[in-house]
Subunit: 343 residues, 2 copies
């Protein structure tokens, strides 16, 4: 039985770090395991311009533990007022690595997102021209659409039209949750990839709603039925380079989770690698873990793979139920299964 | 435009009153509008014997506001140790009006429920013989079954076999949430009815999960997708006597709702009639409200209709967001729409 597993140092291709006290509290949990991360721009106010991204990058760097080599890969929040020239300059400067599309109102701090997609087509055209990826929160916000159908509807109504209009645009479907999304990626011939979170490989919607309501398992896109979880596991562990890790680790204090209208997000930064090793071992695919965490992402983003390594050891990990922050405790995602690997 | 609506005093064919301080706090909200209610037996410990039911009935009577004519219709909690003779005697004494079947683990305080249905067949046979209705919490508890499929699976795996084995057994499918259940009732030729809650006529699962997680909308069976809600509205407002009101009003303190694993239940006793009038008016079926609230239930249970009346007035009702109880505040169900009728 394998006792240690050494892989190139992982990257997290979808991460929420927040700002201020929360940034300082959660950053060490990602920086301890990951070399780089695509940093979500949905602050309040959002990270919209190159100048915003440079300032946020500097705040992240300032919050890093001493000696950390963690590199934040910055993104911009696409709004209907986004300046294509500013985007192109930020990319040319090596400052940003993606632009994030949030349908207005789709998730935490998305009020500045896009309502009329035709208003951003000139930005998408510029991004296609220069090779800058678009990351999508793939849910329609039409309240008439069932919450569990919103990802599939987004593919049909928004994503496929965008990709047809901009065939050279490189797109990352973020935190996919359905077999529909997996199939859409598999059917593409180029310029399309998808990130998969840790928690969507572990939970289905029963974890949220059966025998009690569990806000700590609630994220957006919400976990779907078991058949979708199994499709995600096949995609993540199958070795296809179009699928790679984006944890979507998203800290909210317990006070903000356990509300009459609780916030969406699972905080997986501390135990993601232990959980992933468990999942990949369950699927008899430990040899493919490195591809998912460390190889496929850089290949899509056109970045070098990390030279440093990380070694997982077969030891029962010991994670706290929550981390303390100045804003209050943040519950660490509970995988609801024994873990056997320590990163 | 109709300004007042006078109907025979309603009955609630599915109600949770709890015990002790909570009983005293919530009972006036039902007793103020309803003449009778089928009282759920899922206390801790459950109401299992005729003696338990008599004692609980007496506690409810003692908790009634002075001068109230409210009549609790008692039920027994079916366990694998239930004594058929005790059940028959309690029914003969006029003490109980139904026996409740909870699959073990299906909902709040259901741990004493039935795991092996063959162990209760002698009780069901006796009930069929004497005409005592069985009320069912219609969800399988097989964790492999998706939470949204559990009612349909219960019909196939449990209810239909029970009804085939005991064709004379009178059954009430409680708090139905799916078009599958509506269709099953409609396809029956006898001995089958269903209750429908107030909240399931108002919310679908988007209310629980879209744009934030809302524990106060969480109940079991959980609300399903919109097409099911519409099927329930057609059933409730269509005049078919096999469908009648069972609010399933279920008080939990906010502290017990807003937990990492929050309790299931919506507290609708204070505003149920205002909400129902709104729903029936939206469906252009105000003339059928009385059937749903006051006629169909007594007909199925073989009880006289109430002679007293209740008059609804077209006035904006004023409900508190929560009621205070010695155990803490209990949030009143928010219908998320303007109401125009006061009961």
């Amino acid at each position: 039985m394998t006792q240690t597993l050494t892989i190139r140092r992982p990257d997290d291709w979808h991460l929420h770090l927040r700002d201020g006290d929360m940034l300082r509290a959660v950053l060490p949990h990602s920086a301890g395991h990951f070399a780089r991360a695509i940093i979500m721009p949905n602050l309040v106010p959002p990270v919209v311009t190159g100048a915003d991204a440079a300032a946020y990058r500097d705040r992240i760097r300032a919050a890093l533990p001493e000696g950390s080599a963690f590199t934040p890969l910055m993104t911009l929040y696409l709004t209907e007022n986004t300046d294509a020239g500013d985007v192109a300059q930020a990319y040319a400067d090596g400052l940003i690595h993606a632009v994030k599309l949030y349908p207005a109102g789709a998730t935490t701090n998305s009020a500045s997102g896009v309502t009329d997609f035709s208003r951003v087509s000139h930005v998408l055209e510029k991004m296609a021209e220069i090779g800058l990826p678009l990351c999508t929160h793939g849910e329609v916000t039409d309240t008439a659409v069932d919450i569990f159908d919103r990802e599939a509807a987004f593919i049909d109504r928004v994503l496929d039209p965008i990709r047809t209009a901009h065939p050279d645009l490189r797109v990352v479907m973020e935190h996919i949750t359905t077999s529909d999304a997996v199939d859409y990626v598999l059917a593409s011939d180029r310029n399309l990839a998808a990130t998969i979170t840790t928690h969507h490989l572990v939970i289905n919607r029963n974890h949220i709603l059966a025998g009690g309501i569990r806000p700590h398992y609630y994220c957006l896109p919400v976990a779907k039925r078991e058949s979708h979880r199994l499709a995600l596991r096949r995609a993540a562990t199958g070795g296809d380079p179009r699928f790679f890790l984006g944890t979507d680790s998203a800290p909210h204090t317990d006070a903000n989770k356990l509300l009459p209208c609780g916030c969406a997000g699972c905080f997986t930064a501390p135990n993601t690698l232990s959980i992933l090793a468990e999942v990949f071992e369950q699927e008899d695919a430990l040899d493919r873990l490195e591809g998912f965490t460390s190889l496929h992402g850089p290949a899509f983003y056109g970045l070098p793979v990390n030279e440093e390594t990380l070694t997982l050891v077969r030891e029962t990990p010991d994670f706290p139920a929550h981390i303390d922050t100045p804003d209050g405790p943040v519950t660490v995602f509970d995988p609801a299964m024994p873990l056997h690997w320590t990163a």
